[in-house]
């Protein structure tokens, strides 16, 4: 089992978790494949953290089963934790330790050599001078970096990261993204939750969206992108071009010689149709995943019963 990768790094079957009457997870079945970056999305309180904590054995499933790296989450949770790295959402650290001591301590408890520590500290710009300081003196962004480093320093096969870029400024976000790209290239698997959709679009291969504990969608990011809408605006001189036959064009608003619309899917038909000499100005904005996601997100707020 050590060397051969199981077919699914995370595999859940009908995973269900109730807190009293509240259903935090309902019949969740999904697979995370080796070597992918899997995005786990959902509104606040939809059960994301419950899922992660169940996978790591902090919570016990009400029914259903799950395995991580081929190990059962109830029986082998110690072994699972030995092979994974975990970044809790809104991580709290031991204030009285220095950054380096906190990393040492957590790594000693992990029991696996911190082979990536130096590389991570360099890429996330945590020089030794900073690591010498007490965690209590750290800013939010620095705590978050320590959190990322402690989760990845022992080079785990699987990293589970709960809102990893929370509190990181754009520079550090970039550094984190490139880190993720490298992990994927090295065949590591990452399971992460995030609220920042452009970020998900940028780094994730596949995403699952849950709401009120129910799995709403499980898709390739590329497939989602195919459903994206672009905002186009154009201006022309003279007669308006004929736009009615263009597939995917909607919400057409005309204001004098200016027109705005949304365009779903392929732009080639649209570009051909408008390529006339009377075109003065054309803007096609980059597509956003937001609309595609929001479709799954919207709905009742019952999920808010569960805090997470």
């Amino acid at each position: 089992m050590e060397d051969q990768q199981p077919a699914a790094v995370i595999h859940t079957t009908g995973l269900t978790k109730h807190y009293g009457k509240v259903q935090a997870l309902v019949d969740l079945t999904l697979d995370v494949r080796p070597g992918e970056i899997f995005g786990f999305l959902g509104p606040n309180g939809s059960g994301k953290s419950t899922m992660i904590r169940t996978l790591l054995g902090f919570l016990h499933p009400t029914s259903g089963s799950a395995s991580v790296l081929g190990l059962d989450i109830v029986d082998d949770s110690v072994e699972i934790r030995r092979r994974t790295g975990y970044l809790p959402g809104g991580i709290a650290l031991y204030d009285s330790l220095s950054g380096a001591d906190a990393l040492d301590y957590l790594n000693d408890l992990q029991g696996t050599p911190a082979v990536r520590r130096e590389e991570l500290c360099e890429r996330l710009q945590m020089p030794a001078s900073v690591l010498r300081r007490k965690v209590r003196d750290y800013s939010r962004g620095m705590r978050q970096k320590i959190g990322v480093i402690q989760a990845l320093q022992h080079d785990p096969v699987l990293a589970i990261l709960d809102e990893p870029t929370e509190g990181l400024d754009p520079l550090m976000q970039q550094a984190f993204y490139s880190l993720m790209d490298d992990l994927r290239d090295q065949g590591r698997t990452t399971f992460l939750s995030s609220h920042v959709l452009p970020e998900v679009e940028r780094i994730c291969d596949r995403v699952a969206i849950i709401r009120s504990g129910h799995l709403m969608a499980l898709q390739n990011v590329d497939d989602l992108l195919a459903r994206r809408k672009r905002r186009v605006s154009l201006r022309w001189r003279g007669a308006a071009p004929e736009l009615s036959g263009i597939p995917g064009l909607a919400d057409v608003k005309t204001d004098g010689d200016r027109m705005t619309a949304t365009l779903l899917g392929d732009v080639s038909g649209f570009v051909r149709a408008i390529a006339s000499p009377s075109l003065v100005d054309l803007t096609i904005e980059p597509a956003r995943l937001e609309e595609a996601f929001l479709e799954y997100y919207a709905g009742d707020d019952a999920s808010e019963e569960v805090r997470g």
Binding site: Y19, A24, G45, S49, T50, R53, L56, G57, F58, L59, H60, V78, E79, R81, R82, Y86, P88, G90, I91, A92, L93, Y94, S96, Y105, L106, D108, L109, Q110, G111, Q150, V306, R307, G308
Partner: protein, 267 residues
């Protein structure tokens, strides 16, 4: 047992431990001094009737004999406040406190079973309490030596007093640790444990002040810590056995409950 966790847990308590050990040592030293200085004066005061005789006899301690004075030192409310708050405070903070600070989640993410975590913390607590009791006894021995009363004290019995004390405080600590792994928040765990401590103390005091209900003492763990008897050579194995049970029950409870609990529920 995880050595690293043990060392770190002890380290986190080191400042408190050192302060407490120093205080315990000083307090222990004070008792023989008080015995020499005031033993007779207090006796006079009691005989005169100004202070009710009941107030002068907590547990089995009194100022009129050296062993009584030492016992008083070990069972004085001050000692109970010292050691009790420490034993209870540090154990309760062990799991519930870490949960409340939010650091439990990073700890749980390590490949340590809950049993390992529990046993490690329990070991750490045992070491901490032992050190405090040792400091207290060392203080008493030092005090006795300073006062030149060494021949009145049977040093051979001291290890037994230590074991007896460790068992009694261990029983409260075991209760505190069980509460710590049962509750998510620090306050209720502390509340339950303090209540347990106070009920025990109340039963002991009630029985000693009011002779008609001295049977209540039987039900107090404090009553089964008898340094006075041990110092005078009378060792009741029943006390040791009972305290061992009082430790065993919460430990067993914790070992069963802790691994099965949902921890770090969404907050």
């Amino acid at each position: 047992m995880n050595l690293r966790l043990l060392v770190q847990t002890l380290r986190w308590n080191r400042v408190r431990l050192l302060i407490l050990m120093a205080a315990s040592f000083g307090w222990g030293m004070l008792m023989p001094v008080i015995y020499v200085a005031f033993g007779d004066a207090f006796k006079g005061l009691v005989d005169s009737g100004v202070i009710p005789a009941e107030l002068m006899s907590f547990g089995s301690g009194n100022f009129f004999t050296l062993s009584g004075a030492l016992t008083l030192g070990l069972q004085h409310p001050m000692t109970i406040a010292f050691v009790g708050v420490f034993a209870v405070g540090s154990t309760v903070a062990a799991i519930a406190g870490e949960r409340e600070r939010g650091t439990l989640e990073v700890l749980l993410a390590r490949p340590l079973s809950r049993r390992t975590i529990y046993l490690t913390v329990a070991t750490a607590v045992t070491i901490l309490i032992s050190l405090v009791i040792l400091a207290l006894l060392a203080g008493q021995v030092a005090g006795v030596a300073i006062q030149g009363l060494s021949d009145e004290l049977d040093l051979v019995q001291l290890p037994l007093v230590f074991v007896n004390g460790l068992l009694m405080w261990g029983a409260f600590a075991a209760f505190g640790l069980a509460a710590s792994v049962t509750f998510d928040r620090h306050a209720p765990a502390l509340g339950v444990t303090m209540a347990y401590l106070l009920v025990n103390y109340f039963l002991e005091i009630l029985g000693s002040l009011w002779r008609d209900v001295d049977w209540t003492q039987q039900y107090s763990l404090f009553h089964h810590f008898q340094p006075g008897s041990i110092l005078t050579g009378k060792v009741d194995l029943f006390d040791f056995g009972l305290l061992a049970v009082a430790i065993g029950a919460p430990v067993a409870f914790a070992l069963i409950v802790f691994p099965r609990r949902d921890l770090a529920a969404p907050s």
